[in-house]
Structures are given as C-alpha cells and as structure tokens.
C-alpha cells in the first residue's frame, strides 16, 4: 500500500520533470509536480485515498527535512558576519512589510466579501 502510494508520488514527480524539460517554465519541476498532483486530484485521475498515507506521513515530518539545508548557512558565516547590518536591515524590513502587505490585503478582501454576503459587518 505504502509502496504503491509512494510510486504514484514518484510518477507524478517524474512526469513533472519531463514536462519542465519540454516546456520552459519559470519554476522548478517539484513546483510543477505540486500543481500537477493538485489538478490530478481535482479531475479525479488520482484519488485522495491513493496518495493520502504517504502524503500525510511526509507532511507530518516536513520541518525535519529542512534541518540539513538550514544548517548549510554555516558555510556563509563569514559573509553574514562581515555584512551583518547591510544584510539584516533590508531583510528584516522587507519581511515585516511583506507579511503586512500579504496578510492585510488577503484579510481585507475576505472581510469585505463576508460583509457583502451577510449584509452586515463582521
């Protein structure tokens, strides 16, 4: 069961790789795979029960897979130390404002939609 589910994920990933080799897209093939699997689920080509066990397993431990690449920052320790302010000031400012813009715009439009729907403010 798990092997079958894992094979489906691998097959989707392989097809995505093939697609991105043929069509030049501005995204890596695993992001193409994300969209491909989503549309396969929407259209019913792949059923939720055919991939849920493996997907939920990987999703549950997702943060663990990022420990190794995060620790890779160790290789740029000197550069980050030498340009500390020059890097972290723009980085901090842009993260803060990015969160504000994305969050507020999304929330504003959702709330406006809700008001229209119910006829009064929530």
């Amino acid at each position: 069961m798990a092997v079958k589910q894992f094979s489906i994920i691998l097959a989707v990933t392989f097809v995505s790789w093939a697609v991105s080799e043929i069509v030049p897209l501005p995204v890596p093939y695993n992001v193409v795979g994300f969209m491909l699997l989503f549309f396969a689920l929407l259209s019913g080509i792949i059923k939720e029960q055919q991939v849920d066990k493996v997907c939920d397993f990987i999703l549950r431990y997702m943060a663990l897979f990022f420990v190794v690449p995060i620790a890779g920052v160790i290789e740029y320790g000197d550069l980050l130390k030498d340009q500390f302010t020059e890097i972290f000031v723009p980085l901090g400012v842009s993260i803060l404002l990015g969160f504000f813009a994305a969050g507020k715009v999304t929330q504003f439009i959702i709330h406006r939609g809700n008001r229209k729907e119910t006829g009064h403010g929530i």
Partner: protein, 232 residues
Amino acid sequence: MTSSVDLLANPYAGLLLTIGAYAVGQVLYDKTRWAFLQPVLTASVIVIVILSVFDLSYRKYYDQNAVLNYILPLTAVVLALPLYRNRSILKKHGAAIFAGIIAGTVTTMGTVAAAGIFIGTDFHTIISLIPKSATNPIAFEVSRIIGGIPPVTVALVVITGVIGGVAGPEMMKLMGIRNEIARGIAMGSISHAVGTARSLQESELQGSMSSLAMALAGMLTAILAPLIVMLL
C-alpha cells in the same frame, strides 16, 4: 582540532545527528510551548554547534543525510493534498488569495531593494537578496539569471524562511492579521517552505494556503525579479 576523532567516520552519524537534534527540539518545544522555540530552529542550531565544535565537514554531514535530501523535493509535491482538501476555500476566496500573494511578493522584493540602496548595501548583495522569499530551487535560478550570487541567495532564502517561520505568526498577531487564510497566504508568500512547515503545525487550512502561496509567489518572483533589477 584535526587530531580529534571524526564523529562522521560512521556513515549513519549524520542522519542520527539530524533526527536526534530534531527530537531534542521537539521535546523542548513540547515542554515550553514557546513559539520561538521551533524544533526546526533548535535542531539546526544544535547541528551547527556540533559541526563547529568538533570541526566536522558540512559536505560530509550533508551527504550522510541523503535519505532526507532525497525526500526534500517531494515535500513540495505532496503539499497538493492539503490544498485539494481545502479546494472550496480556494474557490470561494480566490480573488483575496491571489491579491494577497501579489501584494506580499511585490512589497517584499521592492522594499528589500529600496532599503538596501538606502543603507548602502553592496550591489551584488542586494541582487542576491531580491529572490529571498521564493522557494530555494526557484530563488537559486532567479539569482543566477539576474546577476546575483546563487549560493549567497540560498543562505538568505533559508534565513528568510527561518525568521518568518519562527516569528511570522507572532508578528501577524501584533499586526492584527487573525484570519487563518490570510495568515497562511502571508507565511507562504514571504517564508516559502519553512513558513509552510510552520503553518501546517498551526492548522491544515493555514498550511494548505501557505503551500499555494509558496508556489505562486515563487512563479511571480521568477517573472518580476528581472524587472525590479532593471529599475535599479
């Protein structure tokens, strides 16, 4: 420290270190429930400290974690499932979601360049900073295309992910962003996969919104980054 014992001489030591460090991080988080003490952050710090103290090679450590690195690209693919489970939300709030992703991506790219110019950051560093909110495989390519330093971008992408993933939910609480959809969209737009991993812990809805935002913000970054560089 070349005379000391090489702890990575055993081929399983690297993987053991990663999982062990993550377990320590998880226990610490469960005990304290302190939002900033994310297991992924604690684990990464433990790994960095151990590699530094025992003078171990990061390359060797990386290679010994081949099993995890093999699954890593698939984490983006499997995120399609939570998005599918929340498809009705996407259908209902599509306009808000897309507007939020565009606003976040344009704002974060524009302000990182503007702030960098304002305080006199090295030009190549500014260019390397521009794709920092995109997921790493995208950011690496974008950095190369726009004339940045790709390995530096990779490090900056990771740092952006960690800052947003650890502090994002708290920042949004202070900003009054309480809607679960909006929170997920912001996490994914600014802090890509690391933010998505954190969002998944908050709720499946937030995680699925974050994964969608990560994918679209990545694409948007690839399209807009060359235009922003042209304006500099």
